[in-house]
Symmetry: C2
Subunit: 397 residues, 2 copies
Amino acid sequence: MTTLHDISTPSLVLDVTRLLANCEFMAARAKQLGVRLRPHMKTAKSADVARVATAGQFGGITVSTLAEAEYFFAHGFNDITLAVGFLPDRLPRALALVRQGAALRILTDSEAAATLIAAGAADVAPHRLGVLIEVDCGDRRGGVNPAGDELLAIARAIHGKAGVRLAGVLTHGGHSYRCSSIEEIQAVARHERDSVVHAAERLRAAGLPCETVSVGSTPTCTHAQDYAGCTEMRPGVYMLGDLDQVGLESLPASRVAATVLCSVIGVYPDQNKLIVDAGGLALSKDAGAQRHGDQIGYGLVLDIDGKPLRRIVHVEGTRTGSVTKPVDAWVFAASQEHGQITAADPLPFEKLKVGTRLRILPNHICMTAAAHPGFYVVEGGSEVVAQWGRINGWGNW
Amino acid sequence: MTTLHDISTPSLVLDVTRLLANCEFMAARAKQLGVRLRPHMKTAKSADVARVATAGQFGGITVSTLAEAEYFFAHGFNDITLAVGFLPDRLPRALALVRQGAALRILTDSEAAATLIAAGAADVAPHRLGVLIEVDCGDRRGGVNPAGDELLAIARAIHGKAGVRLAGVLTHGGHSYRCSSIEEIQAVARHERDSVVHAAERLRAAGLPCETVSVGSTPTCTHAQDYAGCTEMRPGVYMLGDLDQVGLESLPASRVAATVLCSVIGVYPDQNKLIVDAGGLALSKDAGAQRHGDQIGYGLVLDIDGKPLRRIVHVEGTRTGSVTKPVDAWVFAASQEHGQITAADPLPFEKLKVGTRLRILPNHICMTAAAHPGFYVVEGGSEVVAQWGRINGWGNW
């Protein structure tokens, strides 16, 4: 039996019981909202996780790179949306998947790119590459104005051309990540819905097809009150969770499924400090979650069992003369291979030696997980029941 | 002929002419300071780069992981210092290298760990694992107080034991990264020297050997005035350079050798904005260089030739009626696969289309490079003359 005591550190640990709970939660949300769930695999990047996330669903997934599209197609996923603005240079790789039977849909917000895509895809007929139009719902990253002219121009550059199919409209309420209350997130979910439904209505009014009306981000899919008119949602981070999502109230910390297992490599009681072998590379330098609190740093520190550290506090009048209290410890600094841990209270140094293993709840799991080749899978305890690989990188080496 | 116009993006580009200039610079510094140069390969993680960095030197290198030690040993590097606090759990992997003939030296700042290391290494005799004692020079990350008792306790836990060899003392002036002037960096270099030389003198006064007296960080090795009493220095980032090092005046921006090649995937003249396919994963979310200026974000933007973007400005009275002016563009936001670029002046949209290739000067190349499987090597121009692999990760999957 291999346990978390045996594997080398730093490593990425996935608690599959929490993954299942997170997937059940989001499946129920999709059902409640009346939309299909097309989970975004950019975070987990794992066919094993995708099988859990699509169980009981229609089977479609979302990805963020062509490398992911190729990997998931090779692992039996056929219905794939590549939800990052498509670069026409990449048509050969995309069309190779379409020729093999993938129901691949790509994204564009540019008439010039759409024209190149339609021209370049003509040869793939009678197969068809699906093309979704990216709509901006207020995030101000990519996407066309749903009320603007470019929406119709892109649609006309695609519709009726050989080798492509106008598949619909898509938006991402990424500004939900900048919200500070559920009410604000709900407002962003309304922006998502209103923008993309308006775009869909304009296409249909112009006699153009718009089968798919796609929305999503983990915060908006968690808190949206109404996705009427939408056909699917594409959350991704919810499967694993992280401190940023905890801060956004997408899930409680008790459901964060992915942690970084690390080992203590230095003990400094005079500084109330530990050094562990998970630094900026193993944790990422994403500091986004720090806006939710002062004592988050580059991650929160748990023991090897995923429980808070506890220290013994002497209390007169109790039976044993002492009680244990949780110690909220965090990674206050991260250099390349060093994470430095402290706490507001004294760390329980009697239990902390060079070699002690700890687990770090990460700030932003999309960034953290990408440094690791895969997940060591546990079922609540410390036994490693499986190793699940990931598709990192861009497949271009 | 393959050029930067042909390879897939995002990719890491290494200009070997700049690498050579950076290596020549640091070799001259080591000579001037009278110490050996043991380049730290944690940044480049490439045997090809290591061959350039050790050319004309004694051949020793520094690494930050056992995976790097194994990789570089397999590529012909024998004299290797693993300069991160050693975890006794890892002895089997380290001793396997020693048994194969590696002159491997590890680092500790803990008497308890030193005792475990000496006990665990006994079987490797008559081979010996070198052990360096980590000294704190004011960085307050790892290391013992050079004036404290633990220094001698660790030395005595190692000295005279079978299978280990007390190799000396080592420090890292990491607080140089927090400096805001060359004078402050020079003061940190004095801290490095004074601390480690004092520790060496104490060991020798106690009748203990101290062959190696090792210092270094790129800022201190660049600016140190005196390393008398030290035997070697271990800078690493200098080979590639980044915006943080430019801000610290370790090198000019014209010598930054590694850039991220990316493609424009969205063009938004109304927002004076581009989106490229290098986001938080391809660039890292390290924001450290932002302290050197307001308009750095997640990297500075150059054209495919590594030159600043330029825009045409109409000027009455000039022969052509116009001049071109550089446009200082930067990545102001980075999500997983999206980098968003803007500039204080209007971007030259007449030259910027979906598919246009750009190069990003990264904030912190140690973090950025780790997302990429290797370097596409150029010699000043755009022809790709080689592909140099890297050893990412921890070799534990």
